[in-house]
Every structure is written in structure tokens, then in C-alpha cells.
């Protein structure tokens, strides 16, 4: 576990760096006040707007740990929002909490079902996950638009808007919802044996099967959970604007979610995963977009800026890169390393590299130079 925390230290550093840059650019950046009974400020915004991304990234983490991937989450976001809004609009009294609860339940159920469908294709029929979920990625948005008849459905329902706008003890519901989901996922995965099973199946599916783990069932369940998370995110996104946009809701969010998961240190090749890492990853991704807006990065350079930050995060996680960056400083400093015995300095710097063991991923299969 120590290794894991150590690995997260670098992304954390980048996050701190981003926040610091913001604070310099916008003096009141860290200010958090209470407005209308609700916490208000840029930091709260990051968490609030990052909540859907985090929800999706959590579901995605499990799917990725099982060596899968889910490209359809964006479409599920759209479907979920569309279903909820249409049901509310069709209800006799859109403002009744009952109608809203029913609509949300229906949307979540459908999302889970869509996840199940992905799981069926990927885990039972063994279609490669990327195409298996591509089907829903393509068709799902069509479905969402079919539900909303291609329009942006606007709802005027206080309880529904409240899902995004409301707060408990001044903490926005959205943030609470994300926090609770993180907690639930953590308990479900780390306080039971599920996490172990997931890592075993993701690490070596055949070995896990022979050890008596129901690998197929687990994968199907993971896709369903991922669908559910995406559905929940869809509700949050839709409640946020009080509307359902079949075409644009959650557009490209799958890439951001995968990015968040990967920044958090979970490998796309399956196996070990980190929930804390995913949370950190999602916060970084969201901070990144907020930074673009608050620092006034022109839209045409925003993408280059984003790319640079992504590269910095990744490279900082590489011990070899750190060593190379540090080398000139170290050599320039007065206490020069005792040379002579072990060959030239740079080689020694990355001497731990070949097995990648220095960085918490001691995998003999990944012998790399």
C-alpha cells in the first residue's frame, strides 16, 4: 500500500500545482463562502461539476480492472437523462417528489440494464469490449434522441432540479452523492473479497476461473455497475441544467473517465486498481477544465494546454523521467555523487528501471529497458 500512496504522490503534486496556478491567477480562488445555504466557490465548483465524471470513472475503474473497457457510458448518460426527464414531463405533477423518484428509479434501472447488455456481449459472448460497447455508444445516443424526439427536453420540477442544486448542511448533493458512491465502492471492493476477485480475474482470468471464481458473472456485474454509475451521472448532468440533451449530454465523457482512471494508476491491461487514484484522477481532469476557464486560456490553445498537463502527469509518474530531469541539478550541486564504482551517473539513476519494481508495479513480465 505504501507503494501505491507513493505512486499517487506525483499526480497529487500536479493537482496542487494546478490549484496554485489558479490561486495566483485568480486571487479569490480558494475562497469558499455560503450562498443561498450552499457552499460556493471555485473549489466547490470543481467537485460539483466533477461529480458526474467521478461517478463514471468509478464504474469504469472496475470494468478496466477486469480488462474491459466501456465506451458507451456517454450514451448511457444521455439515455438516463432523457428517460428521467421524459417521465417527469409526462407525469401529472412534475413537481411531486414521487414522480421524480419514480423517474430516477426508472432511469437508473434502464442504465443498469444497458450495462448488463454490454456485459452480456463482452463477457458472455466474448466480443472484444471495445466493439461490444461501441455498439451501444453508437445506438445509445440515437435511443436517447428517440426518447426525447430529438428535442432538448426541459423540466421545471423543483425536486428534480434539487438533485443538483440542493444541499445538505451546505454541502451540495452532487458532492455528497459522489462521496457516498466512493465510499460504497470502497466498502464493496475493499471490505469484501470482491476487490480481490476483480484483481485476480483482471490479472489472470484463467487462473481465477480455476481457483473457483465466477469470472463471467463478475464481469457482467461490473458492466452493470458501470452502467448504473453512468446512469446516475446522467441524472446529475440532466438535473444540473434541468434538461435532457440526447445529443450532447456526456459527449466524450468516456475518454475523460478513462483518462481519470489511468491517471489514477489503474492499468488498462487489467489487474490492480486504485479507487483513491481514480478519485484523484477525476479531480485532476475536472480541475484542468476549470483552470482553462478561470485562467482565460483562449479556446484555441485550451487543447494544447490540456495535452501538456496530461503529458506532465504521466511523465512525472515515470521514475526514469524524474531521474533525467533531476540529473543536471544533482550533478551541478556541490555534493557530487561518488563516481567511479558504478559507471556513469545517468545509468545509475535509472538502474531500477528494467523491472519497473521501483514504482510499485513489480511485474516480472514487464521487464523493460
Amino acid at each position: 500500500m505504501a507503494a501505491q500512496t507513493r505512486r499517487l504522490a506525483w499526480p497529487l503534486l500536479v493537482l496542487v500545482g494546478l490549484l496554485a496556478a489558479n490561486a495566483v491567477a485568480t486571487p479569490g480562488f480558494f475562497a469558499v463562502t455560503v450562498k443561498g445555504g450552499r457552499l460556493y466557490g471555485s473549489l466547490v465548483d470543481i467537485l460539483h461539476f466533477g461529480a458526474p465524471l467521478l461517478l463514471i470513472a468509478l464504474g469504469m475503474t472496475v470494468v478496466i480492472a477486469l480488462r474491459g473497457i466501456d465506451l458507451s457510458v456517454g450514451a448511457v448518460v444521455a439515455v438516463s437523462g432523457a428517460v428521467a426527464c421524459e417521465i417527469i414531463v409526462a407525469a401529472g405533477d412534475p413537481s411531486s417528489p414521487g414522480a421524480v423518484a419514480g423517474a430516477v428509479a426508472a432511469a437508473l434501472a434502464l442504465s443498469a440494464l444497458l450495462g448488463l447488455w454490454n456485459g452480456f456481449l463482452a463477457a458472455v459472448l466474448r466480443i472484444q469490449p471495445i466493439v461490444a460497447t461501441l455498439i451501444l455508444m453508437v445506438a445509445g445516443r440515437g435511443l436517447a434522441q428517440l426518447i426525447t424526439d430529438g428535442q432538448i427536453t426541459t423540466v421545471t420540477s423543483e425536486p428534480y432540479r434539487g438533485i443538483a442544486a440542493g444541499s445538505l448542511a451546505a454541502v451540495p448533493y452532487t458532492v455528497l452523492m459522489a462521496a457516498v458512491t466512493v465510499l460504497v465502492m470502497w466498502v464493496a471492493l475493499r471490505r469484501t473479497a470482491l476487490g480481490l476477485f476483480v484483481e485476480a480475474v483482471g490479472g489472470n482470468a484463467e487462473a481465477a476461473r480455476l481457483a473457483g471464481i465466477r469470472a463471467t458473472g463478475l464481469s457482467v456485474a461490473a458492466y452493470a455497475v458501470c452502467g448504473l454509475c453512468a446512469g446516475l451521472a446522467g441524472i446529475v448532468i440532466s438535473a444540473n441544467t434541468g434538461s435532457a440533451d440526447g445529443n450532447n449530454a456526456g459527449l466524450w465523457i468516456e475518454l475523460d473517465a478513462i483518462l481519470a482512471v489511468v491517471i489514477g494508476g489503474t492499468l488498462l491491461t487489467g489487474g490492480r486498481f486504485s479507487i483513491a487514484g481514480t478519485v484523484l484522477g477525476a479531480v485532476i481532469v475536472q480541475t484542468l477544465s476549470t483552470t482553462v476557464y478561470t485562467m482565460g486560456v483562449p479556446p484555441e490553445s485550451a487543447l494544447v494546454f490540456k495535452a501538456v498537463v496530461v503529458f506532465v502527469v504521466c511523465l512525472l509518474q515515470s521514475p526514469r523521467f524524474r531521474a533525467q530531469v533531476a540529473a543536471p541539478f544533482r550533478r551541478g550541486g556541490p555534493p557530487a555523487p561518488a563516481g567511479g564504482a558504478g559507471g556513469p551517473a545517468p545509468e545509475e539513476e535509472d538502474g531500477t528501471m528494467p523491472t519497473a519494481t521501483g514504482d510499485g508495479r513489480p511485474d516480472p513480465r514487464e521487464v523493460r529497458r
Binding site: L134, I135, L259, L268, V308, S318
Partner: protein
């Protein structure tokens, strides 16, 4: 003498057929994809007038020439066990560079190599980041995707039309085929690229090493193969192909626009995977990728010919057709893919 002898060929013809299929197991996914593509096309011909004309079939190649080139490049990467998300953006960047430099008055014969070089360079850099610093390919190329698209915006957010006469001539150039049909230059280039890729993959050490690295990177390293060169190589090839796709795209569309090729990287990856290549690497063929692109193209053509679908039904039907294709593929080739 060691008990390792393969069982003598069984007498029955059935067994012999099985043995024949057995030996060519690895071609089954490609063959099946091709078969299903033909089926799909046949259904289209029965359903729509004017569908079965030779030119419609050739137009599949013409309309998808750039995607074929993209998919060919991505095939290298996926075979080596990686993934490349930057191709769509690099295509846009290459098209953008062409349009921009032409507007600046550069000679077209210089512009094309520059664009190709830029694509290859981006691929090379991604490869270096992936190989030397152990960054996961998905992230590194996602970063590359942002970066290349960002460069497009920096060049110009507005569309730049291409008015160069040479580009015009190349774009209009047609290779006549029997029966009054013809292929565009782009399609010919795409087919040539696919042929060259197949040659490289099967007949050169680099190509075979690509398969080896995809099969098992650590084994390939222990077998003394130049893993680093292979990994960096495939991303360079992919970047180059994406840029070439961009040049073909400019021929097709005669302009550079920063929004070109949005999401095309997914189409390319999907085409490769549909063609039977395993995302885990080490298994697949360029031919499969071409079949994959043609499949996506056929689906698109069917949607166009249908002519009554609303926007959302278009999407749903596209998804369903993809599903049908994949299920057929699955049903016809059981137990081929582990």
C-alpha cells in the same frame, strides 16, 4: 520416437477437412468478416435499387480511402499490443498543414512531405514517451490526440480552402477501370498502402517483430528482439499513416478544418477490431482492417440508401447493423478467438 509424433492423418475425409481448417485457423476471423461483409452487401443490393452497381462498390473504397489508410496504421499499433487514439487528430492536423502551407504559397510538392513528416514525428514522439517512460499507450496517445487537435486550432480555427491546381488535378484524377467505372487516386493510394503494410508485416523482420511484441513483450525482449525500436516504430508508422490519410482527406475534401476527423480514431480502431484483430495484440491481418473499413462503409451506405431514417433512427440502425455484423461473425466462427 519421442512420443511427440503428430497423429497420423485420419482416414476419413471429414478429419482431413478439419485438419485443413485447423491449419488455417488464424485466417478464419478474416474470412468470416469478409463473408459477412458480402452478406451485408447482398442484403443491401436486394433492398435498394442502384445499390449493387459496380461503381457503388468502388465508391466504398473511394469514400473511405483515408479511413483505410488510418486503419492500416492503427493495425500496426494494435498488433504490437498498443492503441493509438491520436489518428483522427493527426489526420486533421495533416490536412490543416497542407491547406495552411498552400495558402502561404509553399509548393505542393514540398507541402505533402512536410505534412507526412509532421505526422510521423508526432507518432515517433508518442512512441518514445510510451517506450522510454513507460506511459500507458492509451494516455500517451490521448495526450497526442489533444495536442494534434490543439495545433489545428492554433493554426486556424477557420476552414482553409485549398485552391492549388495540383491538388485539384490529383483530386479529380481517376483511374479508369473496366465497365465505365473508376477509382480515385486516393483509393489507389489506400490500396497500395494496405498492400505495402501487408508486405512489411509478413515479409520483414520488423513486421514479424511487431507480432512478437504483441504476443508477449517481455518474451520478445528476452528473445533478443529490438522491442524499443518496434514499439516506437509502430507509432511512427501509425502517425505517418494518419498523416497520409490527412493528405488523402485533403484530396477528398479540398480544405483544412480543425474539426475534420473528429472521432475518426474510434472508427479506425473499430474497423481494425471488426476485421478480427485482437486488441490484446499479436493477432490479426491488414486485410481484416480493410474489410472492417468496408463494413463500416457499407453500413453507412445502407443508411444513406435507406433515405427515410430520422437522425436518431440512423444511429440506432447503425448500432444494430454493427451488432448484427458482429453476432454473425461470432456465430460463423466459433471458438477461434480464445
Amino acid at each position: 520416437m519421442t512420443g511427440l509424433s503428430t497423429p497420423t492423418p485420419a482416414a476419413s475425409a471429414a478429419a482431413r477437412v478439419r485438419a485443413l481448417v485447423d491449419g488455417r485457423r488464424r485466417f478464419i476471423p478474416v474470412a468470416v468478416s469478409g463473408l459477412v461483409l458480402v452478406l451485408l452487401f447482398a442484403v443491401g443490393s436486394v433492398r435498394y435499387t442502384g445499390f449493387a452497381e459496380p461503381q457503388v462498390m468502388l465508391n466504398l473504397l473511394v469514400n473511405n480511402s483515408f479511413l483505410i489508410v488510418l486503419a492500416v496504421g492503427v493495425t500496426f499499433v494494435i498488433l504490437a499490443g498498443g492503441i493509438d487514439l491520436s489518428t483522427g487528430s493527426v489526420l486533421a492536423l495533416s490536412a490543416m498543414i497542407c491547406a495552411w502551407l498552400l495558402r502561404e504559397g509553399w509548393p505542393p510538392l514540398l507541402v505533402i512531405p512536410v505534412a507526412l513528416l509532421a505526422g510521423a514525428a508526432i507518432g515517433f514522439l508518442q512512441g518514445c514517451i510510451i517506450h522510454f517512460y513507460g506511459v500507458q499507450p492509451f494516455i500517451a496517445t490521448l495526450g497526442g490526440m489533444f495536442f494534434a487537435r490543439g495545433l489545428c486550432y492554433l493554426i486556424s480555427t477557420e476552414s482553409i480552402p485549398i485552391t492549388d491546381p495540383l491538388f485539384g488535378t490529383l483530386a479529380q484524377a481517376r483511374v479508369p477501370l473496366p465497365g465505365g467505372t473508376s477509382l480515385s487516386l486516393g483509393a489507389v493510394v489506400a490500396l497500395a498502402a494496405a498492400g505495402a503494410a501487408a508486405f512489411v508485416l509478413h515479409r520483414t523482420r520488423f513486421g514479424r517483430s511487431v507480432y512478437a511484441v504483441g504476443g508477449s513483450e517481455s518474451s520478445a525482449m528476452l528473445m533478443g528482439l529490438p522491442v524499443g525500436r518496434v514499439k516506437i516504430g509502430v507509432y511512427t508508422v501509425s502517425g505517418f499513416c494518419a498523416a497520409l490519410g490527412g493528405v488523402l482527406y485533403t484530396l477528398y475534401i479540398a480544405s483544412g478544418n480543425s474539426l475534420h476527423g473528429l472521432g475518426m480514431e474510434l472508427d479506425a480502431i473499430a474497423a481494425v477490431v471488426i476485421g478480427g484483430t485482437l486488441l490484446t495484440g499479436g493477432f490479426g491481418y491488414v486485410l481484416g482492417s480493410v474489410v472492417g473499413v468496408l463494413t463500416l462503409g457499407t453500413i453507412q451506405t445502407i443508411l444513406v440508401f435507406e433515405g427515410t431514417l430520422s437522425s436518431w433512427w440512423t444511429r440506432i440502425v447503425a448500432g444494430v447493423l454493427l451488432l448484427v455484423f458482429i453476432l454473425l461473425q461470432r456465430a460463423l466462427a466459433p471458438r477461434t478467438v480464445k
